[in-house]
């Protein structure tokens, strides 16, 4: 374990940590019911879908990549899940279809980026369009509900008293922690961001790793689709529009650099929670929605501002 901790790229506590502490403290006093158990499980549950995108996004960004297609792809997966389940009458098939769809889009991203070495921003902006288009076409622009077959229990159900989404989130975090800190794949990810020539000379599969990172992202988009579909009890072609930007913001707020293989999964978790806590707290305090919109941006900038002031090393603005 000591190795593992030492292995981690040294990241000072990101500013977002202080921000989160401040928010929690503030809301516990100011917002009725904020500290209640029910509300805490609310916040965590609401954060899970975003977290399932933000964790792989962390690795992708560490590998000097970006995935703008996640939101659209997530919507598509929910649609595919609903459509397949209704068509075949088997939820299992629907789930499989959703995960396959997500992974395929991830592989497509990775392949285009690795083989044509195109800028990830462009490729994934393109696949964003493709996924969004497919979702709209498959669902004919409207949502599908009444899948049944216990789909909604994916969101509401509990195992050993723990909400299933929470288990998904914890499981995902564990997977990513091991991948990043205890496997060659993790080394490759850091190398992709730090020095690809080095990987090449060390006979490590550069393109393979690149594709794998995006495929992994796609896979977890598929997994997130299970939760979202469970929450909607169906699929919707625009349900997750723009989620990728929230994920990227959470990653950056968490202190992961946009250049050169330096990142922190823990920071990402904090980033996701902070935005969630802020929205939830402001709702409980019945703050006007317009203020909430501004606050989202405020959190993002504040976190990086704190880092800047505290002189946390950051990548040169890209």
């Amino acid at each position: 374990m000591t190795e593992a901790t030492a292995r981690k790229p040294r990241i000072p506590i990101p500013g977002v940590a202080w921000l989160l502490i401040a928010l929690v403290a503030g809301f516990s006093i100011g917002a009725p019911g904020f500290a209640s158990g029910a509300n805490v499980s609310n916040i965590t549950q609401q954060a899970t879908v975003l977290l399932l995108l933000a964790l792989p996004m962390t690795l992708i960004i560490m590998a000097e990549g970006l995935d703008l297609s996640m939101g659209a792809s997530l919507s598509l997966c929910t649609v595919v899940l609903a459509a397949t389940s209704l068509a075949t009458g088997s939820l299992a098939l629907g789930i499989a279809a959703a995960i396959v769809t997500g992974t395929l889009i991830g592989v497509l991203n990775g392949a285009l980026i690795a083989w044509l070495d195109l800028p990830p921003f462009v490729v994934t902006l393109g696949t964003l369009g493709v996924a969004q288009g497919l979702a709209l076409l498959v669902a004919e622009g409207r949502g599908t509900t009444g899948v049944g077959g216990g789909l909604s229990s994916l969101w509401t159900g509990t195992v050993l008293g723990l909400p299933i989404p929470l288990l998904f989130a914890v499981g995902a975090w564990a997977v990513f922690h091991v991948l990043l800190h205890h496997t060659r794949f993790g080394v490759a990810v850091i190398g992709l961001g730090g020095n690809r020539e080095a990987l090449r000379l060390a006979a490590m599969p550069v393109r393979g790793s690149l594709i794998a990172v995006y495929a992994l992202g796609g896979f977890f988009v598929g997994v997130a689709a299970l939760l979202l579909a469970g929450r909607l009890d169906g699929g919707h072609p625009t349900a997750a529009i723009g989620t990728e930007f929230d994920a990227i913001a959470a990653v950056a707020v968490g202190g992961t650099l946009f250049e050169g293989g330096k990142g922190s999964l823990g920071g990402t978790v904090l980033g996701v929670l902070t935005v969630g806590v802020m929205r939830n707290g402001m709702n409980l305090m019945s703050m006007p929605s317009s203020l909430q919109v501004a606050a989202v941006g405020g959190v993002v900038i504040a976190a990086l501002l704190i880092d800047a002031v505290r002189g946390t090393p950051r990548a040169e603005p890209a």
């Binding site: 509300n39 909607l232 919707h236 349900a239 703050m287």
Partner: protein, 317 residues
Amino acid sequence: MNRTILAGALALCTLSIAHAADERIAVFTKNQTNPYFQVVRMGADSAAKQMGATTTHYIPTKPDSIPEQLSLIDDVVIKKPSAIVFTPVDYKAMGAGVAKMNAAGIPVVNVTDRSENGKFVAFVGSSDYELGKVTGRYLLQTMGGKGNVVILEGVKGSLVSSDRVRGFQDALKEFPNVKVLASQPGNFQRLQALQVMENLMQTYPQIEGIMAANDSMASGAIEALEGANRKSLVIGINGTKEAIDAIKAGTLLATGDYNGYLQGCVSTMVAIRELRKLPVPKEVVFPATVVNKSNYLPLDVPLDSRACPKWEDVVKS
């Protein structure tokens, strides 16, 4: 400038009294950008004020975001308001959310968009289909029952859009001599409607009538016509302030009155009456009325000076 002050005041009062009164109504609307929902919110506010209750508004930060409205529901259930006035951002996807409110034992009144699933005290709204039908019919009559029309649809897949368009089409059935040149989505957006019209006008030199599924698209179409120095009769639906002005200016033939303000008022009244154990109808659907040059005056007043009618005047059991 006065708008700022107004908005500020709104924000303040909602903030300050939120905890004071004991009848707290949580009002859910789809977004904070579409003027229509602002009208609904103001109706709700004035109704609450008249009856001595307070309202708090819950609006997704991303317009019409399904996950966000679901989260809003989670959070509101924690706050346990006395009652909820609810517009689903999507008529199909909110079932789970409504179920959660029901489970929490909070009475929910469904307003404007009829939610496909969930248990409600009542539905308050207007019939999109009827509105489409009567407003469309009015246009076709004015056209003298002949000529070419173009339909501007809303967001594909949205119930509002499909119902209104269905209304248009059934109205058209009554006028066999009218030809439908095209029926294209403008996604309820002004700019898209504008550009769609510009493009269509290239293909069709003769367009006598334009049926827009909402007022924004109607004014988009009007801009397009003016840009091309062409004339045709345009109708919209919703009866927004802008539409009324356009009718005054003579650029818009008519708009179907969606009664946003009334919907706000009545839905909130129903919620409060339910709390006070007063009788409430299961459904309040406002008669579809066409607003045109002859009858727009009552609607042509600044929102903040409007007041909710008496319950008895609206609901004659």
